[in-house]
C-alpha cells in the first residue's frame, strides 16, 4: 500500500467522521436531554437538503449563504412544531415516542414525495467548491483534498464548537445540563423545563437541517435520503455515550477511521459488516459508550 493511498484513506476517515458527526449531533442533543429516540431525525436532514435546493432555485449558484440559515431556521421551526404537537405528549414513554417519530418520518417522506416528486432534486455545489487541492511532487504526489469535503469538515467542526460553547458556556447550556442531571430539582429552581425541551428539540432539528444542507453537496436530495444516515447517526450516539457531545465527536472520529481502514484493507462492501461487528464487540465491553453521562435522569430511564 503506497503512501498516497494511505494518506488518502486517512483523509477519507476524517471526512467520513465529519459527515457522521454532522448527522449525529442534533440527535445526540435531543436524545441526551430528553431520552427521545427521534426516528424522524433523518427526515430533518432531508428537509435541510430540500431547503438547500429551494435556496439554489431562488438565488442561483451562490446559494450557500442563504441555504444554511434557511435550513437551520426552517428545520428548527419544524422541530418546534413537532415537539409541541406530538413529542411533548409522549415524554416518559420511550416506545410510544419511537413509534410516533417513526410515523412522523413516514409522513415527512411522503410529504416530500408529494411536493417535490419521488425522484430526487439536483443540488450542485457552487463553482468555488468544485475542485481540489492536489499535492504535487514528493512522496505524496497526486494526493487530493476535494474542496467540498474540506468544507463539510469545517462545517462539522464549526457546529461542534458552537454546540459545545452553547452547552458549556451559556446560560441556556447551564439549564440544559441542570435538567439533564435532575429534571425535578432544576424545575423547582425555576428552570422552565417544558420550554427548554422545546428549545433543545428545535436546536437539534436545526442542526440536522444544517447537516442536511452540507450533505446535499455530497449526496442526493430525495425523499428517502434520511434513512441512509439514520443508522450511522444512532451508532455514533450509542458508541459515544448517550447525552455526551464530546463522546459523539470522539465516536464519529473512531467510526470514521475504522470505516476507512476496513474499506482500504478489504472491500467497501465488507467494511460495513466489519464496522458493525466492531461496534457490537465494543458495546459488550462498554455498554454505556465511551463517555457515559452520570445523571439521575439516565438512571431512571
Amino acid at each position: 500500500m503506497d503512501a498516497v493511498f494511505l494518506f488518502g484513506q486517512l483523509f477519507t476517515g476524517l471526512s467520513v467522521a465529519s459527515i457522521l458527526l454532522l448527522a449525529a449531533l442534533g440527535l445526540a442533543l435531543s436524545f441526551g436531554l430528553m431520552r427521545v429516540i427521534n426516528m424522524a431525525h433523518g427526515e430533518f436532514l432531508m428537509f435541510g437538503g430540500y431547503l438547500t435546493y429551494l435556496a439554489s432555485q431562488w438565488v442561483g449558484p451562490q446559494f450557500l449563504w442563504l441555504a444554511f440559515p434557511l435550513a437551520f431556521v426552517g428545520s428548527a421551526l419544524l422541530g418546534a412544531v413537532l415537539e409541541f404537537t406530538v413529542i411533548r405528549r409522549l415524554y416518559g414513554r420511550p416506545l410510544d415516542t419511537l413509534l410516533a417519530t417513526f410515523g412522523i418520518s413516514l409522513i415527512l417522506q411522503q410529504a416530500a414525495r408529494q411536493i417535490f416528486g419521488s425522484t430526487g432534486v439536483p443540488v450542485m455545489a457552487p463553482a468555488w467548491l468544485s475542485g481540489a487541492i492536489t499535492v504535487h511532487g514528493g512522496a505524496l504526489d497526486g494526493l487530493t483534498f476535494p474542496y467540498v469535503r474540506l468544507f463539510v469538515m469545517a462545517l462539522s467542526a464549526l457546529v461542534l464548537i458552537a454546540v459545545w460553547w452553547l452547552l458549556n458556556r451559556s446560560r441556556f447550556g447551564m439549564h440544559v445540563r441542570a435538567v439533564n442531571q435532575n429534571r425535578e430539582v432544576a424545575s423547582s429552581l425555576g428552570v422552565n423545563t417544558r420550554q427548554l425541551d422545546m428549545l433543545v428539540f428545535a436546536l437539534g432539528s436545526g442542526i440536522a437541517g444544517v447537516a442536511g444542507a452540507g450533505l446535499a453537496l455530497l449526496a442526493p436530495v430525495n425523499p428517502t435520503v434520511g434513512s441512509a444516515y439514520i443508522v450511522n447517526a444512532f451508532l455514533v450516539v450509542v458508541v459515544g455515550g448517550v447525552g455526551s457531545v464530546l463522546g459523539g465527536a470522539v465516536a464519529a472520529l473512531l467510526l470514521g477511521c475504522i470505516t476507512a481502514l476496513a474499506e482500504g484493507l478489504t472491500s467497501v462492501s465488507l467494511a460495513q459488516a466489519i464496522l458493525l461487528v466492531v461496534v457490537v464487540a465494543f458495546l459488550q465491553w462498554k455498554p454505556r459508550g465511551l463517555f457515559p453521562t452520570q445523571s439521575r435522569a439516565l438512571e431512571e430511564a
Binding site: 435520503v225 474499506e263 467497501v268
Partner: protein, 390 residues
C-alpha cells in the same frame, strides 16, 4: 395517487365482471409505493398507455383490454402474493411487471405453478430462463458485453467495475470479468457499495490508486448521485475518466442532475432520442398524457412495446390462453420504438444495442450501435458453460 389507482382498479373490477363478455383482463404489477416507485410508476404508465392506444383502436380480437393494476410496494414477497392474486382470482391473460431481479425471482414460481405469462421489461443478469416469463429487457450480451466491446474499441485497457451490492451487478460483473480475462485486457479493480449507499471516498481513493481508463458502473438508484458528486469533487470528469453506466437512463439523469453526467456514457436498447417513427409517436403520446417534460427510458419503452407484443401473439394464436400465447409469440416481430425486434424461442428479444453519450438536459446522443440486431443469450458461455434454456 395509489389510493386512487386502487379505487379505479376496484371500480374497473366490478365493471369488468358486468361486462366480462367484451373484455380481456391483464395485470400490471409494479411498485407504486416504496423505494422502487421512482422507477416503476413510469413503467406502469407506459404499459397503461399502450393498453389505452390498443383499446382506442378497437382492442384485441374484438375485446377491450381491462387493466388490473396491483402495487408490489417494493417488497418482493408482495410481488409474489399479488401475482398469485392476479392469476388465480382475476384470471388475467398476461401480467406486465417487475423491475428488480429480486421481485422477478419472487414471482417466477407463482407464474410457473399457475401457467401464467409475465412480461418483464428491465435489463437483467441472465442466468435464468423460465418458459412463463418473456424477458424483454437486455440480456447481459445485449448490454454489458457490447459496452465492454465498445470500451475496448475506444482503446480503454484498464477497466474498473463499480456496482451496488446485489444480484444484478454481481452477476453482470462476473460475466464481464470472464470476458475481460478472455480478451487479455486488465481488470483494474472491483468494488460494491450497499444499495442506497452515499459514501464513496474510499471507492474513489481506490480508483485513484488503480488508475483505470474507464469505469463500468452498475450502481443502482440514488447511489449514483453520491458517486458522481464525489467523483467530480475529486477532480474527475468524462474527459479524464469516462464512466459507462447500465442503470442510468433519461429519468435517472434528471434526478442526478444532467450537469454531473455531461459526457458520460450509457448502454441500452433504447434512448428517448432515437429518431425512428414509432419512437416519435410513442414519445409524443406519452408526453401528451403524462406531461411534456416527462423523461422516457429503456424499461418504459420495453413495457410499452410488451403490450403490443402480447397483442400480436394473441392474434397469432387466436387465443388468450397464456400457454398458446407463449407458443405463438416466438418469431413475432415488430417495428417498435426500439427499432426492429423479434421474440426468440428462449423468450427474450433479438434487439439492437446503443451506446449513448449524455448531453445537456439529460438526453443521450447515440454514439455507437451494434451492427444489426443481437440475439439474446440467457446463459453466458464463459460464465455459465453448459447451461441452456429448457
Amino acid at each position: 395517487m395509489t389510493y386512487r389507482n386502487l379505487t379505479a382498479s376496484l371500480t374497473l373490477l366490478l365493471l369488468g365482471n358486468a361486462l366480462a363478455q367484451g373484455t380481456v383482463k391483464v395485470g400490471v404489477l409494479h411498485s407504486l409505493t416504496g423505494t422502487m416507485a421512482i422507477s416503476e410508476i413510469t413503467v406502469a404508465n407506459a404499459a397503461q398507455l399502450a393498453v389505452d392506444e390498443i383499446n382506442a383502436a378497437g382492442g384485441v380480437m374484438g375485446k377491450k383490454i381491462q387493466v388490473i393494476k396491483e402495487d408490489g410496494a417494493s417488497d418482493w414477497p408482495t410481488f409474489a402474493t399479488k401475482a398469485e392474486k392476479l392469476l388465480t382470482q382475476d384470471k388475467v391473460a398476461a401480467v406486465f411487471g417487475g423491475w428488480t431481479s429480486a421481485s422477478r425471482k419472487a414471482m417466477l414460481p407463482v407464474f410457473e405453478k399457475n401457467k401464467g405469462l409475465l412480461f418483464y421489461p428491465v435489463q437483467f443478469e441472465g442466468n435464468e430462463c423460465s418458459p412463463n416469463i418473456i424477458y424483454t429487457g437486455a440480456q447481459p450480451n445485449q448490454q454489458a458485453l457490447p459496452a465492454l466491446e465498445w470500451a475496448l474499441s475506444k482503446g480503454y485497457k484498464n477497466i474498473f467495475l463499480l456496482g451496488s451490492d446485489y444480484v444484478y451487478p454481481r452477476t453482470a460483473n462476473l460475466i464481464l470479468k470472464k470476458h475481460i480475462a478472455a480478451k487479455g485486457t486488465n481488470l483494474a479493480g472491483e468494488e460494491y457499495v450497499a444499495l442506497g449507499g452515499t459514501e464513496f471516498s474510499s471507492v474513489i481513493n481506490k480508483i485513484k490508486a488503480a488508475k483505470p481508463d474507464v469505469i463500468i458502473n452498475t450502481l443502482n438508484g440514488d447511489s449514483n448521485v453520491s458517486f458522481f458528486k464525489q467523483y467530480q469533487a475529486a477532480g474527475y470528469s468524462a474527459a479524464t475518466l469516462p464512466v459507462i453506466s447500465f442503470s442510468i437512463a433519461e429519468q435517472e439523469a434528471q434526478s442526478i442532475g444532467p450537469a454531473l453526467l455531461t459526457g458520460q456514457y450509457a448502454t441500452w436498447n433504447y434512448f428517448q432520442s432515437l429518431p425512428n417513427a414509432a419512437n416519435k409517436k410513442f414519445v409524443a403520446a406519452y408526453q401528451k398524457k403524462y406531461g411534456a417534460k416527462a423523461a422516457i427510458t429503456d424499461p418504459m419503452a420495453h413495457a410499452y412495446m410488451d403490450v403490443y407484443l402480447w397483442k400480436a401473439a394473441v392474434e397469432k394464436a387466436k387465443s388468450f390462453d397464456p400457454v398458446a400465447v407463449r407458443k405463438a409469440i416466438v418469431g413475432v416481430s415488430t417495428d417498435s420504438p426500439l427499432g426492429k425486434i423479434t421474440v426468440d424461442k428462449n423468450g427474450s428479444l433479438t434487439q439492437t444495442v446503443y451506446t449513448g453519450q449524455s448531453g445537456a438536459g439529460g438526453q443521450f446522443k447515440v454514439v455507437a450501435q451494434s451492427g444489426g440486431v443481437i440475439a439474446p443469450q440467457p446463459y453466458d458461455a464463459l460464465a455459465f458453460p453448459g447451461k441452456t434454456c429448457p
